[in-house]
């Protein structure tokens, strides 16, 4: 599944770049996630509780940040497994300065497997969009704060 889009967040490019790689910020923005545990340089483990349409549960996964080109772009590599299925994805985030604000452009490819891939096709597009939206809404809040 291809995912792409962009969000305008209320902070400068350098700051957005830094916040987007801050494990505490990421943990706050990801729905259902309490914290990220560092397991290696730029690599974190996380647990995520997902509930959509009454389905979901715990996902355990890893996030890795790669190909950093501060403050313009980096790559996010995600790997998660839960009872209802697993995801594996990779996305490129491009940060474009827009005056006081920054446009975060993302494009990625996510592989979904397990039960959810077989029976939840029509949910994937709308739910992944919602998760991304929630992420950036929270992220924008954090950017706007202090």
């Amino acid at each position: 599944m291809k995912l792409e889009g962009s969000y305008l967040v209320p902070a400068g490019q350098e700051r957005v770049y830094r916040l987007l790689q801050d494990p505490e910020v990421l943990a706050k923005c990801m729905p259902g996630t309490d914290r990220l545990d560092k397991v290696a340089e730029d690599e974190y483990e996380m647990k995520m509780k997902m509930m959509i349409a009454g389905m979901g549960g715990m996902f355990a996964g890893k996030i890795r940040i790669a190909d950093q080109k501060a403050p313009e772009s980096f790559r996010l590599v995600v790997d998660g497994t839960g009872k209802i299925g697993f995801i594996k994805g990779e996305g490129l985030l491009n940060l474009i300065a827009q005056g006081e604000k920054t446009e975060v452009k993302y494009e990625g490819d996510v592989q979904v497997g397990g039960t959810i891939a077989g029976v939840g096709q029509r949910l994937l597009d709308t739910t992944s969009k919602m998760i991304i939206k929630k992420f950036f809404e929270k992220f924008s809040e954090i950017c706007a704060a202090d």
Partner: protein
């Protein structure tokens, strides 16, 4: 002596309601899942969530710790079970070792990895989630063309080209035909993967009686006797220690013409735990682990003269095999090649098949099995050729049909068509739709900007599979006919019907032959301890071969009946008709009932005769049969949405002599509906990682009654000379005739935009995109 006239009315040819139906519609039939046994355990299978992965480790302990779980078996435990068999043989065929449970690698989504056995079904299912399998996912490949391209990830590491076989067949002089052609048309045509989706999935109950060393396997199968032989071989059991019972089968369509890992596995489990065990396939498993149908990519080239005479056909066929060979997997595309000329008298053909391994569940026989693909190909190509030559698609067909005087007709692929009158059903169908007026109507519709299509398909099929030399496991069929001491008749047929209505049609034939009432006849099948032996029901063979075996068994009985009649009437000159034996001199008669009683009481015997009235016949057919027909579909396309309206569906089928028109129409209806499913809605879609993304009925669109137009079904009857009943077979006709008629109709509707071909399924979005692009998408 009493003289009772039992019966004079003949039943063959009458619309008689199916005797099977009352038990089916009142819920009193017994399916595998209805079987209960004391001490019965339940199995649940742990399956791969990946399309391709290495198994690094399996931890069964958490499952074993769950109260109620009695055993968990993995590939190591079942390694000694012989591989799941492939019955097809082709030169140079690569046959992967198909373990019943995966060893160190999984090859497709749903690949069985372990089996959990517990005291109830719910515990077994819970425990399956507790088996911890550590997978290392591998790159998968699910598209057959990508699979055979250089650099594709290997499905089986030992064969990096993912090629299971290459098969070549040639007849006549193809190169000359193409060199001398006035016109050559080419087209890539696909026939997508389909999920057979019977109402009842698979299911097995296995019971092992250790003291008797006897295993009984109840399985929802089309082939109880073959299953017995092959499962016995897999389990290392003597064949006569294994009994296979086939209870009611809730649909199969070819997907139960197979030997599955789970069938051997349940036998193994029952023998291990010493208790009966039941496994019932879930719908998810049915989608991911029971064979799929079709899966063709075909490259066609047709050479013709300017007058429309087809002079040569070339086909490159890429068959998506999936990860393994099931019973007939590699043989299915060879049937497409055999039928590639269709009804047309083309003498020069060349076909090359590439069998491609993919990380997907194997394909195998699904209603039509190779012939719908062939028919779709040639019927599309004939329309494309007609368009190229600006000929009417009716004229080009009539021009190329094998003529009525040519039968028996040997094709360029080496078959001998038994009998035919190809123009008869075609002209009848054209008459029903008033073809000339219809084209006029189309002209007016087009002038008004409407997209109105008329689609024709004239199909031929190869049925009554088949002479033994042409099949993998024998192509005969058997029947035992037993006239009980009371005069009741019991027929035991080796054709294991599962929805075809043979309990009715066989009884009709037997009733006419013996002159008894249909209610005096019981047709038994599907139990290897009851039925002498058999091959099964598939390839539209049940009545043509199984019915014929019964017919000949009855002929033997009739001779014996007459001898007993002669003895009882003290006459040398007797005849047997309408259930009574009559002395042609005195007119005295004796009933079948009286003869039967006398034969078992055996106070005296006719000279050289034995007691009892039982006869068995194993009938070997001298040839296949070749039914044919014509379907016409009228459609209209909505420009704004691409939606297709099926305005009219006319089917004229010739399946030889018709035993029961009601059942024949039912078979045609069911077949057409499955053909419409392929043409319009159904597609099994794997993503690049081997996930089946149409994994249940929310995304896999089976036809619904509300989507189906009235099917105007009628017939012509051209008897087959192959068997004395004159029957050919009709189980698959509807499916074979349907899809090209639908696609030809929609292509015809869009032809003003320059559209020449559309691959199935014809989704509205695909059609709308074509309309948007002015036919160029």
């Amino acid at each position: 002596m009493a003289t009772t006239i039992t019966k004079t009315e003949t039943l063959v040819g009458k619309r008689i309601r199916r005797r099977e139906d009352p038990r089916l519609i009142t819920g009193t039939a017994t399916y595998v899942d209805d079987i209960q046994m004391p001490g019965m355990h339940h199995a649940c299978i742990v399956r791969s969530p990946h399309g391709a992965a290495n198994i690094k480790s399996i931890n069964t302990k958490p499952a074993l710790d769950l109260p109620g779980v009695v055993a968990v078996f993995t590939g190591k435990d079942t390694e000694k079970i012989a591989p799941v068999p492939c019955g097809a043989s082709l030169p140079g065929l690569r046959v992967p070792h198909h373990h019943v449970l995966a060893m160190d690698r999984v090859y497709f989504l749903g690949h069985p990895v372990a089996v959990v056995v517990a005291t109830d079904r719910y515990i077994a299912r819970d425990a399956a989630d507790l088996v911890e399998v550590d997978y290392e996912p591998l790159q998968a490949v699910t598209d057959p063309e990508k699979a055979i391209a250089p650099g594709a990830p290997p499905v089986h590491p030992e064969w990096p080209d993912n090629t299971a076989f290459n098969y070549h067949q040639e007849g006549g002089d193809v190169d000359k035909a193409f060199a001398e052609a006035d016109v050559i048309v080419k087209q890539r045509i696909t026939s997508q993967r389909l999920i057979p989706a019977p109402m009842e999935g698979r299911g097995v109950v296995a019971e092992w009686l250790a003291g008797d060393r006897a295993l009984t396997l109840h399985s929802s199968t089309q082939i109880p006797h073959l299953l017995r032989s092959l499962i016995a071989m897999m389990l290392g059991l003597e064949e006569n220690r294994l009994r296979v019972v086939t209870p009611e089968v809730g649909g199969a369509f070819g997907c139960k013409l197979n030997v599955y890992a789970e069938e051997a596995l349940m036998g193994f489990v029952a023998m291990k735990i010493g208790k009966p065990v039941k496994w019932i396939e879930s719908r998810r498993e049915n989608f991911t682990c029971t064979i799929h149908g079709r899966g063709h990519v075909d490259y066609y080239e047709v050479a013709a003269k300017r007058d429309g005479t087809i002079t040569g056909i070339k086909l490159k066929l890429i068959q998506d095999l999936g990860a393994y060979h099931q019973l007939l997997t590699p043989a299915i595309p060879t049937l497409s090649v055999l039928m590639m000329p269709g009804l047309y008298a083309c003498r020069n053909i060349r076909a090359d098949i590439v069998g491609a391994f993919t990380n997907a569940v194997p394909t195998d026989a699904y209603r039509g099995a190779g012939r719908p693909e062939a028919t779709h190909g040639i019927e599309r190509m004939v329309d494309i050729l007609a368009a190229e030559l600006k000929m009417d698609p009716v004229d080009i067909r009539l021009k190329n049909f094998v003529g009525n005087d040519a039968f028996p007709y040997t094709t360029a692929t080496g078959l001998t068509y038994d009998s035919g009158n190809y123009a008869a059903p075609f002209e009848k169908a054209l008459g029903i739709v008033k073809y000339k007026e219809l084209r006029e109507e189309q002209k007016q519709a087009r002038a008004a900007g409407r997209l109105f299509g008329i689609g024709l398909s004239t199909y031929g099929e190869i049925c009554a599979m088949g002479p033994s030399p042409a099949t993998a496991a024998g192509g005969w069929e058997s029947a035992t006919v037993k006239i009980e001491p009371s005069g009741k008749v019991t027929v035991m047929t080796g054709a294991s019907p599962h929805g075809q209505g043979e309990e009715t049609t066989f009884a009709q034939i037997a009733a006419d032959e013996l002159g008894v009432g249909i209610d005096d006849i019981l047709v038994l099948h599907g139990d290897t301890a009851v039925v002498q032996y058999g091959i099964g029901t598939f390839g539209s063979r049940g009545t043509a071969i199984g019915g014929t075996a019964m017919y000949f068994a009855i002929q033997d009985l009739k001779k014996k009946i007459k001898k007993y009649g002669a003895m009882l009437l003290a006459s040398e000159d007797v005849s047997f008709a309408n259930g009574v034996c009559t002395d042609n001199q005195s007119g005295k008669s004796v009933s079948l009932k009286e003869i039967a009683a006398a034969s078992y009481r055996a106070m005296s015997l006719p000279p050289g005769e034995t007691p009892g009235l039982v006869a068995t016949n194993f009938w070997e057919p001298p040839n296949f049969t070749f039914p044919f027909g014509a379907h016409i579909v009228i459609t209209e396309v909505d420009r704004d949405t691409g939606a297709i309206e099926l305005k009219r569906y006319v089917a004229v089928d010739d399946c030889g002599k018709i035993i029961n028109p009601l059942i024949v129409d039912g078979q045609v209806h069911g077949g057409v509906v499955q053909g419409l499913g392929q043409a319009l809605w159904e597609q099994a879609v794997y993503d690049d990682n081997g996930q089946l993304v149409t994994g249940e009925f929310m995304d896999y669109a089976l036809p619904k009654a509300s989507n189906i137009p009235w099917i105007e079904s009628s017939h012509t009857e051209t008897p087959s000379p192959v068997n004395p009943l004159g029957v050919k077979g009709v189980g698959e006709a509807g499916t074979i005739g349907c899809s090209p008629a639908v696609v030809n109709s929609v292509v015809d509707a869009l032809s003003p935009l320059g559209v020449r071909h559309i691959d199935m399924p014809l989704t509205p979005e695909k059609i709308w995109n074509l309309v948007q692009a002015g036919g160029q998408a």
